[in-house]
Protein backbone atom coordinates (compact mmCIF):
# COMPACT_ATOMS: atom_id res chain seq x y z
CA UNK A 1 0.00 0.00 0.00
CA UNK A 2 2.84 2.40 0.75
CA UNK A 3 4.08 2.05 -2.82
CA UNK A 4 0.85 3.26 -4.41
CA UNK A 5 1.67 6.97 -4.48
CA UNK A 6 5.10 6.18 -5.91
CA UNK A 7 3.61 3.94 -8.59
CA UNK A 8 1.09 6.64 -9.43
CA UNK A 9 3.83 9.23 -9.65
CA UNK A 10 5.91 7.03 -11.95
CA UNK A 11 2.88 6.35 -14.12
CA UNK A 12 2.11 10.04 -14.44
CA UNK A 13 5.75 10.85 -15.24
CA UNK A 14 5.77 8.14 -17.91
CA UNK A 15 2.57 9.50 -19.36
CA UNK A 16 4.08 12.98 -19.41
CA UNK A 17 7.08 11.63 -21.24
CA UNK A 18 4.85 9.86 -23.72
CA UNK A 19 2.99 12.94 -24.92
CA UNK A 20 4.34 16.13 -26.48
CA UNK A 21 5.44 18.69 -23.92
CA UNK A 22 3.14 21.37 -25.17
CA UNK A 23 -0.59 21.22 -25.30
CA UNK A 24 -3.57 22.32 -27.18
CA UNK A 25 -3.21 24.17 -30.33
CA UNK A 26 -2.98 21.53 -32.93
CA UNK A 27 -5.20 19.04 -34.61
CA UNK A 28 -8.43 19.28 -36.48
CA UNK A 29 -11.53 21.11 -35.41
CA UNK A 30 -13.74 19.58 -32.73
CA UNK A 31 -16.24 18.67 -35.40
CA UNK A 32 -14.45 18.08 -38.66
CA UNK A 33 -16.45 16.72 -41.57
CA UNK A 34 -13.43 14.90 -43.01
CA UNK A 35 -12.57 12.98 -39.84
CA UNK A 36 -15.02 11.03 -37.72
CA UNK A 37 -15.73 12.07 -34.15
CA UNK A 38 -14.20 9.54 -31.77
CA UNK A 39 -15.00 11.11 -28.41
CA UNK A 40 -17.38 13.51 -26.77
CA UNK A 41 -17.42 15.72 -23.69
CA UNK A 42 -19.80 14.73 -20.94
CA UNK A 43 -20.71 16.02 -17.50
CA UNK A 44 -18.97 19.33 -18.01
CA UNK A 45 -18.98 21.56 -14.97
CA UNK A 46 -17.33 24.89 -15.66
CA UNK A 47 -15.34 25.74 -18.77
CA UNK A 48 -13.42 23.73 -21.33
CA UNK A 49 -11.53 24.55 -24.52
CA UNK A 50 -10.60 22.46 -27.52
CA UNK A 51 -8.06 22.90 -30.30
CA UNK A 52 -9.02 23.82 -33.85
CA UNK A 53 -7.05 24.74 -36.97
CA UNK A 54 -6.98 28.37 -35.81
CA UNK A 55 -6.35 27.78 -32.12
CA UNK A 56 -8.43 27.11 -29.03
CA UNK A 57 -12.17 27.61 -28.86
CA UNK A 58 -14.60 27.23 -25.98
CA UNK A 59 -16.66 24.03 -26.06
CA UNK A 60 -19.80 22.96 -24.29
CA UNK A 61 -21.12 19.68 -22.98
CA UNK A 62 -21.80 17.24 -25.79
CA UNK A 63 -19.02 18.59 -28.04
CA UNK A 64 -17.47 15.86 -30.18
CA UNK A 65 -13.79 15.49 -31.01
CA UNK A 66 -11.66 13.86 -33.67
CA UNK A 67 -8.35 12.12 -33.04
CA UNK A 68 -5.59 14.55 -32.16
CA UNK A 69 -7.84 17.22 -30.65
CA UNK A 70 -6.59 18.68 -27.41
CA UNK A 71 -9.11 19.39 -24.68
CA UNK A 72 -8.43 21.63 -21.71
CA UNK A 73 -10.39 22.35 -18.58
CA UNK A 74 -10.15 25.63 -16.72
CA UNK A 75 -9.87 26.16 -12.97
CA UNK A 76 -12.82 24.84 -10.94
CA UNK A 77 -13.95 22.87 -13.98
CA UNK A 78 -14.44 19.15 -14.45
CA UNK A 79 -15.72 16.87 -17.17
CA UNK A 80 -15.48 13.42 -18.72
CA UNK A 81 -14.27 12.39 -22.15
CA UNK A 82 -16.24 9.44 -23.45
CA UNK A 83 -14.67 7.57 -26.36
CA UNK A 84 -16.75 5.70 -28.89
CA UNK A 85 -15.17 2.47 -27.60
CA UNK A 86 -16.54 3.17 -24.11
CA UNK A 87 -13.30 4.38 -22.51
CA UNK A 88 -13.91 7.17 -20.02
CA UNK A 89 -11.30 9.78 -19.09
CA UNK A 90 -12.12 12.01 -16.16
CA UNK A 91 -10.85 15.56 -16.27
CA UNK A 92 -10.22 17.62 -13.15
CA UNK A 93 -9.49 21.33 -12.96
CA UNK A 94 -6.73 22.73 -15.18
CA UNK A 95 -6.18 19.51 -17.08
CA UNK A 96 -5.17 18.87 -20.64
CA UNK A 97 -5.74 15.71 -22.62
CA UNK A 98 -5.18 14.70 -26.22
CA UNK A 99 -7.83 12.56 -27.90
CA UNK A 100 -6.15 9.26 -28.89
CA UNK A 101 -8.63 6.54 -29.78
CA UNK A 102 -5.95 4.00 -30.75
CA UNK A 103 -4.17 3.97 -27.40
CA UNK A 104 -5.12 1.59 -24.57
CA UNK A 105 -7.78 3.09 -22.32
CA UNK A 106 -5.49 3.17 -19.28
CA UNK A 107 -2.88 5.12 -21.24
CA UNK A 108 -5.51 7.57 -22.42
CA UNK A 109 -6.51 8.14 -18.80
CA UNK A 110 -2.90 8.75 -17.82
CA UNK A 111 -2.50 11.24 -20.66
CA UNK A 112 -4.82 13.62 -18.83
CA UNK A 113 -2.31 15.94 -17.21
CA UNK A 114 -2.93 18.68 -14.70
CA UNK A 115 -0.82 21.65 -15.78
CA UNK A 116 -1.47 24.07 -12.93
CA UNK A 117 -1.09 21.81 -9.95
CA UNK A 118 -3.09 22.27 -6.82
CA UNK A 119 -1.23 21.47 -3.62
CA UNK A 120 -3.21 18.31 -2.86
CA UNK A 121 -2.30 16.79 -6.22
CA UNK A 122 1.28 17.78 -5.80
CA UNK A 123 1.46 16.14 -2.40
CA UNK A 124 0.11 12.92 -3.89
CA UNK A 125 2.80 13.04 -6.56
CA UNK A 126 5.52 13.65 -4.04
CA UNK A 127 4.30 10.54 -2.27
CA UNK A 128 5.28 11.57 1.18
CA UNK A 129 5.26 14.51 3.44
CA UNK A 130 8.46 16.27 4.24
CA UNK A 131 9.64 16.29 7.78
CA UNK A 132 8.42 18.99 10.03
CA UNK A 133 9.41 22.53 9.27
CA UNK A 134 9.58 23.28 12.92
CA UNK A 135 12.85 25.13 12.64
CA UNK A 136 11.46 27.69 10.21
CA UNK A 137 9.36 29.67 12.65
CA UNK A 138 12.15 29.59 15.19
CA UNK A 139 14.68 30.93 12.73
CA UNK A 140 12.57 33.27 10.72
CA UNK A 141 9.53 34.27 12.72
CA UNK A 142 11.36 34.41 15.98
CA UNK A 143 14.15 36.46 14.51
CA UNK A 144 11.91 38.70 12.52
CA UNK A 145 9.41 39.34 15.23
CA UNK A 146 11.79 40.18 17.98
CA UNK A 147 13.89 37.07 18.29
CA UNK A 148 14.00 34.39 20.93
CA UNK A 149 16.26 36.56 23.03
CA UNK A 150 13.65 39.24 23.03
CA UNK A 151 11.01 36.83 24.18
CA UNK A 152 12.98 35.47 27.11
CA UNK A 153 10.81 35.58 30.17
CA UNK A 154 11.28 38.81 31.99
CA UNK A 155 9.32 41.94 32.44
CA UNK A 156 11.77 44.17 30.61
CA UNK A 157 11.89 41.92 27.54
CA UNK A 158 8.16 41.57 27.29
CA UNK A 159 7.64 45.25 28.00
CA UNK A 160 10.05 46.11 25.20
CA UNK A 161 8.19 43.86 22.78
CA UNK A 162 4.80 45.11 23.78
CA UNK A 163 6.11 48.63 23.58
CA UNK A 164 6.91 48.09 19.89
CA UNK A 165 3.23 47.81 19.11
CA UNK A 166 1.88 51.37 19.12
CA UNK A 167 -1.72 51.54 18.16
CA UNK A 168 -2.47 47.87 18.76
CA UNK A 169 -4.99 48.63 21.42
CA UNK A 170 -6.03 45.75 23.55
CA UNK A 171 -7.63 47.92 26.16
CA UNK A 172 -11.03 46.65 27.17
CA UNK A 173 -12.22 50.20 26.71
Amino acid sequence: MKLRPVVKAIAVVLSLAAVPNLFAQQGPAPVAPAAPAVASLLALEGDALASTVSGLVAVTQGATFTNGTRVLTMAKSTGTIEYTDGCLVNLGPNMRVEIRLGAPCEQRQLMAVQTVLDPATELALEGALETATASIPALVLGGALGGPAGIVAGGAGIAALVGTSPGDSVSPN
Partner: protein, 401 residues
Protein backbone atom coordinates in the same frame (compact mmCIF):
# COMPACT_ATOMS: atom_id res chain seq x y z
CA UNK B 1 -38.75 52.14 58.28
CA UNK B 2 -39.04 53.49 54.74
CA UNK B 3 -36.58 56.35 55.36
CA UNK B 4 -33.90 53.91 56.56
CA UNK B 5 -34.31 51.52 53.60
CA UNK B 6 -34.12 54.50 51.21
CA UNK B 7 -30.87 55.66 52.77
CA UNK B 8 -29.45 52.15 52.57
CA UNK B 9 -30.35 51.94 48.90
CA UNK B 10 -28.72 55.32 48.22
CA UNK B 11 -25.67 54.20 50.17
CA UNK B 12 -25.48 51.00 48.13
CA UNK B 13 -25.78 52.93 44.87
CA UNK B 14 -23.01 55.30 45.98
CA UNK B 15 -20.82 52.34 47.00
CA UNK B 16 -21.33 50.55 43.70
CA UNK B 17 -20.69 53.78 41.80
CA UNK B 18 -17.49 54.39 43.71
CA UNK B 19 -16.36 50.83 43.04
CA UNK B 20 -17.07 51.14 39.32
CA UNK B 21 -15.29 54.51 39.25
CA UNK B 22 -12.27 53.00 40.97
CA UNK B 23 -12.29 50.06 38.56
CA UNK B 24 -12.44 52.31 35.51
CA UNK B 25 -9.61 54.42 36.93
CA UNK B 26 -7.59 51.34 37.87
CA UNK B 27 -7.98 49.70 34.47
CA UNK B 28 -7.27 52.80 32.46
CA UNK B 29 -4.54 54.32 34.54
CA UNK B 30 -3.18 51.44 36.53
CA UNK B 31 -3.31 48.43 34.20
CA UNK B 32 -2.93 50.04 30.78
CA UNK B 33 -0.66 52.61 29.23
CA UNK B 34 -2.05 55.65 27.43
CA UNK B 35 -1.23 53.80 24.22
CA UNK B 36 -3.68 51.10 25.16
CA UNK B 37 -0.98 48.53 25.84
CA UNK B 38 -1.08 46.63 29.10
CA UNK B 39 1.20 48.10 31.74
CA UNK B 40 3.56 45.57 33.23
CA UNK B 41 4.34 45.28 36.84
CA UNK B 42 8.04 45.44 37.55
CA UNK B 43 9.54 41.98 37.33
CA UNK B 44 13.05 40.90 38.04
CA UNK B 45 15.01 40.97 34.79
CA UNK B 46 16.72 37.61 34.39
CA UNK B 47 20.44 37.80 34.13
CA UNK B 48 22.25 35.62 31.65
CA UNK B 49 22.35 32.10 33.03
CA UNK B 50 19.73 32.74 35.64
CA UNK B 51 19.84 30.33 38.49
CA UNK B 52 17.07 27.90 39.29
CA UNK B 53 16.16 30.03 42.29
CA UNK B 54 15.86 33.20 40.27
CA UNK B 55 13.73 31.46 37.63
CA UNK B 56 11.53 30.13 40.42
CA UNK B 57 11.27 33.69 41.67
CA UNK B 58 10.23 34.90 38.23
CA UNK B 59 7.60 32.21 38.06
CA UNK B 60 6.30 33.23 41.48
CA UNK B 61 6.17 36.88 40.42
CA UNK B 62 4.32 35.87 37.27
CA UNK B 63 1.89 33.88 39.39
CA UNK B 64 1.25 36.91 41.58
CA UNK B 65 0.66 39.09 38.51
CA UNK B 66 -1.84 36.64 37.10
CA UNK B 67 -3.53 36.22 40.49
CA UNK B 68 -3.93 39.98 40.58
CA UNK B 69 -5.25 40.23 37.02
CA UNK B 70 -5.76 36.93 35.18
CA UNK B 71 -6.46 38.86 32.00
CA UNK B 72 -3.12 40.67 31.93
CA UNK B 73 -2.05 39.80 28.45
CA UNK B 74 1.65 40.44 28.81
CA UNK B 75 1.83 38.20 31.84
CA UNK B 76 -0.02 35.42 30.05
CA UNK B 77 2.37 35.70 27.11
CA UNK B 78 5.28 35.65 29.51
CA UNK B 79 3.89 32.56 31.17
CA UNK B 80 3.48 30.88 27.80
CA UNK B 81 7.08 31.60 26.90
CA UNK B 82 8.28 30.51 30.30
CA UNK B 83 6.45 27.20 29.96
CA UNK B 84 7.77 26.64 26.44
CA UNK B 85 11.38 27.29 27.41
CA UNK B 86 10.84 25.02 30.39
CA UNK B 87 9.72 22.20 28.13
CA UNK B 88 6.05 22.35 29.09
CA UNK B 89 4.77 22.56 25.52
CA UNK B 90 1.18 21.66 26.39
CA UNK B 91 1.14 24.29 29.12
CA UNK B 92 2.58 26.85 26.75
CA UNK B 93 -0.05 26.05 24.13
CA UNK B 94 -2.75 26.45 26.76
CA UNK B 95 -1.33 29.82 27.80
CA UNK B 96 -1.13 31.02 24.19
CA UNK B 97 -4.75 29.97 23.66
CA UNK B 98 -5.68 31.94 26.76
CA UNK B 99 -3.81 34.95 25.38
CA UNK B 100 -5.65 34.59 22.08
CA UNK B 101 -8.97 34.45 23.95
CA UNK B 102 -8.08 37.68 25.72
CA UNK B 103 -6.77 39.47 22.62
CA UNK B 104 -7.50 37.56 19.42
CA UNK B 105 -6.17 40.33 17.20
CA UNK B 106 -3.24 41.57 19.25
CA UNK B 107 -0.16 41.75 17.08
CA UNK B 108 2.42 40.27 19.41
CA UNK B 109 0.01 37.64 20.63
CA UNK B 110 -0.64 36.56 17.07
CA UNK B 111 3.06 36.64 16.21
CA UNK B 112 4.21 34.65 19.23
CA UNK B 113 1.32 32.20 19.22
CA UNK B 114 1.73 31.55 15.51
CA UNK B 115 5.47 30.98 15.97
CA UNK B 116 4.77 28.61 18.85
CA UNK B 117 2.17 26.55 17.02
CA UNK B 118 4.28 26.43 13.84
CA UNK B 119 7.20 25.16 15.90
CA UNK B 120 4.90 22.41 17.12
CA UNK B 121 3.81 21.68 13.55
CA UNK B 122 0.23 22.57 14.33
CA UNK B 123 -2.08 23.97 11.61
CA UNK B 124 -3.24 26.68 14.02
CA UNK B 125 0.14 28.32 13.53
CA UNK B 126 -0.47 29.06 9.86
CA UNK B 127 -4.01 30.24 10.52
CA UNK B 128 -2.69 32.68 13.12
CA UNK B 129 0.08 33.83 10.78
CA UNK B 130 -2.56 34.49 8.13
CA UNK B 131 -4.59 36.43 10.67
CA UNK B 132 -1.49 38.42 11.57
CA UNK B 133 -0.75 39.52 8.00
CA UNK B 134 -4.43 40.13 7.36
CA UNK B 135 -4.77 42.39 10.40
CA UNK B 136 -1.38 44.08 10.25
CA UNK B 137 -0.20 44.86 6.71
CA UNK B 138 2.98 46.32 8.20
CA UNK B 139 3.91 42.80 9.33
CA UNK B 140 3.87 41.40 5.78
CA UNK B 141 7.52 42.15 5.21
CA UNK B 142 8.41 39.98 8.20
CA UNK B 143 5.80 37.30 7.71
CA UNK B 144 6.09 36.79 3.95
CA UNK B 145 9.48 35.02 4.17
CA UNK B 146 7.90 32.58 6.61
CA UNK B 147 4.94 32.01 4.32
CA UNK B 148 7.31 31.46 1.39
CA UNK B 149 9.26 28.88 3.39
CA UNK B 150 6.04 27.14 4.40
CA UNK B 151 4.93 27.11 0.75
CA UNK B 152 8.23 25.59 -0.31
CA UNK B 153 7.83 22.78 2.21
CA UNK B 154 4.93 20.43 1.78
CA UNK B 155 3.53 20.24 5.31
CA UNK B 156 1.44 23.40 5.16
CA UNK B 157 0.94 23.72 1.40
CA UNK B 158 -2.58 22.30 1.30
CA UNK B 159 -3.63 24.43 4.25
CA UNK B 160 -2.12 27.48 2.60
CA UNK B 161 -4.16 26.67 -0.46
CA UNK B 162 -7.31 26.54 1.65
CA UNK B 163 -6.49 29.92 3.15
CA UNK B 164 -5.76 31.26 -0.34
CA UNK B 165 -9.20 30.06 -1.46
CA UNK B 166 -10.61 32.81 0.75
CA UNK B 167 -8.56 35.26 -1.33
CA UNK B 168 -7.39 37.36 1.61
CA UNK B 169 -6.14 40.87 0.91
CA UNK B 170 -2.52 39.87 1.49
CA UNK B 171 -2.52 37.06 -1.07
CA UNK B 172 -1.76 39.09 -4.18
CA UNK B 173 1.00 41.12 -2.43
CA UNK B 174 2.45 37.86 -1.14
CA UNK B 175 2.51 36.30 -4.61
CA UNK B 176 4.15 39.45 -5.97
CA UNK B 177 6.70 39.44 -3.16
CA UNK B 178 7.53 35.75 -3.53
CA UNK B 179 7.61 35.88 -7.33
CA UNK B 180 10.35 38.49 -7.35
CA UNK B 181 12.37 36.64 -4.74
CA UNK B 182 12.87 33.33 -6.42
CA UNK B 183 10.04 31.21 -5.04
CA UNK B 184 9.26 28.34 -7.42
CA UNK B 185 6.66 29.82 -9.82
CA UNK B 186 4.92 26.43 -10.07
CA UNK B 187 4.07 26.70 -6.38
CA UNK B 188 2.86 30.25 -6.82
CA UNK B 189 0.68 29.48 -9.85
CA UNK B 190 -2.39 28.25 -7.93
CA UNK B 191 -2.09 31.16 -5.52
CA UNK B 192 -1.76 33.61 -8.41
CA UNK B 193 -4.83 32.06 -9.98
CA UNK B 194 -6.78 32.58 -6.77
CA UNK B 195 -5.47 36.09 -6.20
CA UNK B 196 -6.43 37.15 -9.73
CA UNK B 197 -9.81 35.44 -9.73
CA UNK B 198 -11.70 38.58 -8.84
CA UNK B 199 -9.69 40.86 -11.13
CA UNK B 200 -10.74 41.83 -14.65
CA UNK B 201 -7.21 41.22 -15.92
CA UNK B 202 -4.15 39.41 -14.57
CA UNK B 203 -2.74 41.24 -11.59
CA UNK B 204 0.90 42.30 -11.62
CA UNK B 205 1.63 39.37 -9.34
CA UNK B 206 -0.02 36.90 -11.72
CA UNK B 207 1.78 38.48 -14.67
CA UNK B 208 5.05 37.98 -12.80
CA UNK B 209 4.27 34.30 -12.19
CA UNK B 210 3.32 33.75 -15.84
CA UNK B 211 6.59 35.37 -16.96
CA UNK B 212 8.63 33.37 -14.47
CA UNK B 213 7.02 30.12 -15.60
CA UNK B 214 7.71 30.98 -19.24
CA UNK B 215 11.29 32.02 -18.57
CA UNK B 216 11.77 28.78 -16.62
CA UNK B 217 10.71 26.89 -19.75
CA UNK B 218 7.32 25.91 -18.30
CA UNK B 219 5.41 27.34 -21.24
CA UNK B 220 2.45 25.05 -20.86
CA UNK B 221 1.92 25.96 -17.23
CA UNK B 222 2.39 29.63 -18.06
CA UNK B 223 -0.13 29.42 -20.90
CA UNK B 224 -2.72 27.52 -18.89
CA UNK B 225 -2.42 29.94 -15.98
CA UNK B 226 -2.80 32.86 -18.38
CA UNK B 227 -5.81 31.19 -20.05
CA UNK B 228 -7.55 31.08 -16.71
CA UNK B 229 -7.06 34.82 -16.32
CA UNK B 230 -8.47 35.73 -19.73
CA UNK B 231 -12.06 36.98 -19.33
CA UNK B 232 -14.46 34.18 -20.23
CA UNK B 233 -16.05 36.12 -23.10
CA UNK B 234 -12.65 36.46 -24.78
CA UNK B 235 -11.90 32.76 -24.37
CA UNK B 236 -14.67 31.83 -26.79
CA UNK B 237 -12.22 31.98 -29.69
CA UNK B 238 -8.67 32.42 -28.53
CA UNK B 239 -6.72 31.65 -31.67
CA UNK B 240 -3.02 30.87 -31.87
CA UNK B 241 -2.62 34.65 -32.00
CA UNK B 242 -4.73 36.12 -29.24
CA UNK B 243 -6.73 39.26 -30.02
CA UNK B 244 -5.36 39.28 -33.58
CA UNK B 245 -8.14 41.67 -34.57
CA UNK B 246 -7.03 44.11 -31.87
CA UNK B 247 -10.62 44.25 -30.66
CA UNK B 248 -9.62 44.63 -27.02
CA UNK B 249 -7.02 46.73 -25.25
CA UNK B 250 -3.73 44.88 -24.84
CA UNK B 251 -3.00 43.78 -21.28
CA UNK B 252 0.75 43.58 -21.92
CA UNK B 253 0.88 40.36 -19.90
CA UNK B 254 1.23 36.67 -20.55
CA UNK B 255 0.31 35.61 -24.07
CA UNK B 256 -1.61 38.78 -24.92
CA UNK B 257 -0.09 41.58 -27.00
CA UNK B 258 2.69 43.54 -25.42
CA UNK B 259 2.40 47.00 -26.93
CA UNK B 260 5.40 49.24 -26.28
CA UNK B 261 4.75 51.81 -23.58
CA UNK B 262 8.17 53.41 -23.92
CA UNK B 263 8.53 57.11 -24.70
CA UNK B 264 8.68 57.87 -28.42
CA UNK B 265 11.81 59.97 -28.02
CA UNK B 266 13.61 56.97 -26.59
CA UNK B 267 12.44 54.19 -28.93
CA UNK B 268 11.53 56.14 -32.09
CA UNK B 269 7.94 54.98 -32.37
CA UNK B 270 4.56 54.86 -30.70
CA UNK B 271 2.21 51.92 -30.89
CA UNK B 272 -1.45 51.80 -29.96
CA UNK B 273 -4.72 50.05 -30.67
CA UNK B 274 -7.00 52.63 -32.31
CA UNK B 275 -10.60 52.82 -33.48
CA UNK B 276 -11.25 52.75 -37.21
CA UNK B 277 -14.10 54.59 -38.88
CA UNK B 278 -17.03 52.33 -39.65
CA UNK B 279 -19.79 50.29 -38.12
CA UNK B 280 -19.17 47.71 -35.41
CA UNK B 281 -16.42 49.63 -33.62
CA UNK B 282 -13.54 48.15 -35.63
CA UNK B 283 -10.05 48.55 -34.24
CA UNK B 284 -6.54 48.03 -35.51
CA UNK B 285 -2.92 48.32 -34.45
CA UNK B 286 -1.22 51.54 -35.52
CA UNK B 287 2.51 52.08 -35.22
CA UNK B 288 3.83 55.58 -35.94
CA UNK B 289 7.56 55.98 -36.56
CA UNK B 290 9.26 59.34 -36.02
CA UNK B 291 12.22 58.84 -38.38
CA UNK B 292 14.70 58.39 -35.56
CA UNK B 293 16.77 55.34 -34.76
CA UNK B 294 14.54 52.43 -33.75
CA UNK B 295 14.97 50.72 -30.41
CA UNK B 296 12.78 48.02 -28.94
CA UNK B 297 9.74 46.31 -30.41
CA UNK B 298 6.44 48.16 -30.92
CA UNK B 299 4.24 45.05 -30.66
CA UNK B 300 4.94 41.46 -29.73
CA UNK B 301 3.09 38.36 -28.56
CA UNK B 302 4.47 35.12 -27.17
CA UNK B 303 3.10 32.05 -28.94
CA UNK B 304 2.72 28.49 -27.74
CA UNK B 305 2.94 26.34 -30.85
CA UNK B 306 3.40 22.64 -31.34
CA UNK B 307 5.69 21.51 -34.15
CA UNK B 308 3.99 21.73 -37.53
CA UNK B 309 3.22 23.99 -40.46
CA UNK B 310 1.28 27.18 -39.94
CA UNK B 311 0.33 30.23 -41.94
CA UNK B 312 -0.10 33.72 -40.56
CA UNK B 313 -2.58 35.89 -42.45
CA UNK B 314 -3.49 39.51 -41.85
CA UNK B 315 -4.20 42.95 -43.23
CA UNK B 316 -1.65 45.74 -43.52
CA UNK B 317 -1.87 49.42 -44.49
CA UNK B 318 1.47 51.27 -44.74
CA UNK B 319 1.15 55.07 -44.78
CA UNK B 320 4.20 57.03 -45.97
CA UNK B 321 6.40 54.33 -44.52
CA UNK B 322 10.05 55.09 -45.21
CA UNK B 323 12.84 52.84 -44.11
CA UNK B 324 15.93 51.44 -45.67
CA UNK B 325 14.46 47.97 -46.10
CA UNK B 326 11.01 48.34 -44.56
CA UNK B 327 9.39 46.62 -41.60
CA UNK B 328 8.04 43.09 -41.24
CA UNK B 329 6.51 40.59 -38.85
CA UNK B 330 8.79 37.83 -37.59
CA UNK B 331 8.32 34.67 -35.58
CA UNK B 332 11.40 34.12 -33.47
CA UNK B 333 12.66 31.37 -31.23
CA UNK B 334 12.57 32.04 -27.48
CA UNK B 335 14.76 30.30 -24.92
CA UNK B 336 14.39 31.42 -21.31
CA UNK B 337 14.24 35.20 -21.44
CA UNK B 338 16.31 35.41 -24.64
CA UNK B 339 14.67 36.08 -28.00
CA UNK B 340 16.72 34.31 -30.64
CA UNK B 341 16.79 33.36 -34.30
CA UNK B 342 14.11 34.17 -36.87
CA UNK B 343 11.92 31.17 -37.65
CA UNK B 344 9.67 32.94 -40.17
CA UNK B 345 9.26 36.43 -41.60
CA UNK B 346 6.51 38.23 -43.51
CA UNK B 347 6.83 40.35 -46.61
CA UNK B 348 8.26 43.84 -46.15
CA UNK B 349 5.98 46.84 -45.72
CA UNK B 350 7.04 50.17 -47.27
CA UNK B 351 5.48 53.26 -48.85
CA UNK B 352 1.74 53.87 -48.98
CA UNK B 353 -1.06 51.47 -49.78
CA UNK B 354 -4.66 50.78 -48.83
CA UNK B 355 -5.51 47.79 -46.66
CA UNK B 356 -3.97 44.75 -48.28
CA UNK B 357 -3.85 41.10 -47.24
CA UNK B 358 -0.55 39.47 -46.47
CA UNK B 359 0.50 36.01 -45.35
CA UNK B 360 3.60 34.21 -44.15
CA UNK B 361 4.46 30.56 -43.80
CA UNK B 362 5.60 29.47 -40.34
CA UNK B 363 7.26 26.11 -39.79
CA UNK B 364 7.76 25.06 -36.20
CA UNK B 365 10.31 22.29 -35.88
CA UNK B 366 10.22 21.83 -32.12
CA UNK B 367 13.79 22.99 -31.58
CA UNK B 368 12.79 26.11 -29.62
CA UNK B 369 11.41 26.34 -26.11
CA UNK B 370 8.80 28.81 -27.34
CA UNK B 371 8.14 31.51 -29.92
CA UNK B 372 7.33 35.16 -30.23
CA UNK B 373 5.57 37.09 -32.99
CA UNK B 374 6.87 40.62 -33.29
CA UNK B 375 6.94 43.64 -35.59
CA UNK B 376 10.44 44.89 -36.36
CA UNK B 377 12.44 46.79 -38.96
CA UNK B 378 14.09 44.70 -41.67
CA UNK B 379 17.70 44.89 -40.66
CA UNK B 380 20.65 42.60 -40.20
CA UNK B 381 21.18 41.40 -36.63
CA UNK B 382 22.94 44.10 -34.64
CA UNK B 383 22.45 46.81 -37.28
CA UNK B 384 20.55 50.02 -36.64
CA UNK B 385 17.39 51.12 -38.46
CA UNK B 386 15.69 54.47 -39.07
CA UNK B 387 11.97 54.42 -39.90
CA UNK B 388 9.37 57.13 -40.53
CA UNK B 389 5.69 57.07 -41.42
CA UNK B 390 3.08 54.73 -40.01
CA UNK B 391 1.77 51.22 -40.42
CA UNK B 392 -1.61 49.74 -39.60
CA UNK B 393 -2.32 46.05 -38.99
CA UNK B 394 -5.50 44.09 -38.39
CA UNK B 395 -7.01 40.57 -38.40
CA UNK B 396 -3.84 38.62 -37.69
CA UNK B 397 -4.72 34.91 -37.66
CA UNK B 398 -2.39 31.95 -37.44
CA UNK B 399 -3.72 28.82 -39.11
CA UNK B 400 -2.46 25.28 -38.79
CA UNK B 401 -1.95 23.81 -42.27
Amino acid sequence: MPATSGSAARLAIVAVSLFLLWRVFHVNVGLYEVSGQPRLAALPVPAAGSSVDSRAGERAALGRLLDDNPAELAAVLMLARERETGGDVAGASKAYRTALDIAPLHRETLARASAHFLRQGQPAGLELLARLVESYPAMRERAFPVLAELLAGSRYRAQLSQIAARNPAWLDPFVAWACTRGTDPSLLAPLALQASSAAAAPTRAAACVIDRLRISGLWEQAYHLWLNLVPKARRARLGFVFNGGFDYPATNTGFDWTISQDAERRVGHTAEIVRLPGAGDPRALRVAYNGARQRGIPARQYLLLLPGRYELTGLARPQGLKANRGIHWTVRCVEGDRIGKVVARSERFLGTADWQPFSMKVEIDGSCGGHVLQLEPVVEEGQIAFVSGSAWFDDLVLWRR
